[in-house]
């Protein structure tokens, strides 16, 4: 139990997928303009990441390992993620047209979101049990959402700030992302690393 809590906290804060491993930068910069779409994107990624990690674990240990086909892990994980994204897209389109439109192209782009594939592969590298893998995937998604929401909050405030013209738009977004990454580095002393 203690182990699970440790994984949960360390994945969200210390080993944050976006700000420590720098995975999933594309949606991090692309969808963090508005709070509403950031929330939606965060939820979609959390959902896909949790499911992808658990299903990947099952396939990896129950099928691939049994038949000695561990070299298939990359392509199988990509297949799992792509299918899950399709399912999530269908659900969102059916139940929330607004969210579907505000996520736009970034929703199918979750397929190629390296954060999700990254978390699935880390799960294998770190040799987690099934329960640990589920918690790892879920907290990875939460960490992604947290950063996305923090960024969206900052960017919404920046809309009203008097910014020098050269910094407007992309430059300031990247600077903000850099400062956020530095701040998250501060968590690395937490719990002995």
């Amino acid at each position: 139990m203690e182990n699970l809590i440790l994984i949960f906290i360390s994945t969200i804060l210390i080993n944050n997928v976006v700000l420590s491993y720098f995975l999933g930068i594309c949606p991090f910069l692309g969808v963090s303009g508005k709070m509403e779409s950031a929330l939606g994107m965060g939820m979609a990624v959390t959902f896909v990441m949790t499911l992808a990690t658990s299903i990947s674990w099952l396939i990896y240990y129950l099928i691939l390992e049994r038949f000695g086909l561990l070299f298939l892990e990359y392509i199988v994980f990509i297949l799992v993620i792509a299918s899950l994204v399709q399912i999530v897209e269908m659900f969102i389109r059916k139940y929330s047209t607004n969210l579907y439109q505000s996520l736009g192209i970034y929703l199918p782009l979750i397929t190629s979101n390296c954060a999700i594939l990254g978390v699935a592969l880390f799960m294998v590298v770190k040799d987690y049990s099934f329960l640990e893998a589920v918690v790892f995937g879920f907290s990875g998604g939460l960490g992604f959402s947290l950063v996305l929401i923090v960024m969206a909050g900052i960017r919404e405030e920046l809309e009203f700030a008097d910014i020098p013209k050269v910094f407007k738009g992309a430059p300031l977004t990247l600077i903000t992302a850099g400062i956020l990454a530095l701040i998250f580095m501060g968590f690395s002393g937490l719990g002995g690393g």
Binding site: I63, V80, Q86, K94
Partner: protein, 268 residues
């Protein structure tokens, strides 16, 4: 070899399982597209100009199918298109007939009128020229590199002798030239049957400063405001037509004729 076969079979089966799941869910969760969206899309001009306030013609079509009260009318399409669209979404009440508006460029100076004391060698577009002070001495007037011409989606703007001419028949009032112009020269005026007069100058300086930079600038003499029933007025050292205050054609015409620098223009 055995490994290759095993890999093919295992991967094929995993893929099959997922595709079966996907096709099942696809049938369950299908969202039927409203056929009216496509129908309206065919009626609309398809310029994606954004004048209606939506990002594209498709977004507009979708919005009005869901909520007919959002229908504001398509300016490029005009009354005919709007009538057809209203019919397609089954909207009964008549749309308010749109007031006809015109876009004019408020710099009427040609190349020979604009004075230049320096040689501009920067990038050949208005935006850069405006930042560096410009290719002409007048800091209010048209720079003449044709940013507006490039921005116009229907090719209604032409430049002749560094002066902008707008083809009112082609113009769809999308407002892209207004955003493109670094010097905010484009103005929207209401169309009048008496003749569409407008002030072809944007210079907010006074007599001598204007004379120094341009032969056709408004020198704030105020002669046009002194004719009988004059709709002209002076605001910010610049003559302006108060379009709500136009009483007769004679006053407009007389003001135009009396202008010493000929900076009151008319659209034919």
């Amino acid at each position: 070899m055995a490994q290759v076969i095993a890999a093919t079979i295992v991967f094929g089966l995993i893929g099959l399982a997922f595709s079966l799941l996907l096709s099942f869910l696809n049938r369950k969760l299908k969202v039927p597209d409203d056929p009216r969206v496509k129908e309206i899309l065919n009626i609309l001009p398809g310029l994606n100009c954004g004048a209606c306030g939506f990002s594209s013609c498709k977004a507009y079509a979708q919005a009005i199918v869901e909520d007919p009260s959002k229908m504001k009318g398509c300016r490029p399409g005009g009354d005919q298109v709007n009538k057809k669209v209203a019919k397609a979404i089954g909207k009964k009440e008549n749309l308010k007939k749109q007031k006809k508006m015109l876009v004019v460029c408020s710099c009427g100076a040609e190349e020979k009128d604009k004075k230049t004391t320096h040689n501009y060698q920067g990038l050949k577009n208005c935006q850069s020229a405006h930042i560096t002070g410009g290719a002409i001495d007048c800091v209010y007037g048209c720079l003449g590199f044709g940013d507006c011409q490039e921005a116009c989606p229907v090719g209604a703007i032409t430049l002749k002798n560094n002066k902008v001419y707008i083809d009112q028949k082609k113009c769809i009032l999308c407002g892209k030239c207004i955003k493109a112009c670094s010097r905010n020269l484009f103005k929207i005026i209401p169309a009048k049957e008496l003749g569409n007069y407008f002030i072809a100058c944007n210079n907010k300086d006074r007599l001598k400063e204007v004379k120094d930079v341009c032969n056709r600038g408004c020198i704030t003499c105020g002669i046009c405001t002194k004719v009988e029933d004059s709709p002209y007025e002076l605001v910010d050292n610049l003559s302006r037509i108060n379009y709500k205050n136009i009483k007769n054609k004679k006053s407009l015409e007389e003001g135009k004729n009396k202008c010493p620098t000929n900076c009151i223009d008319i659209i034919n």
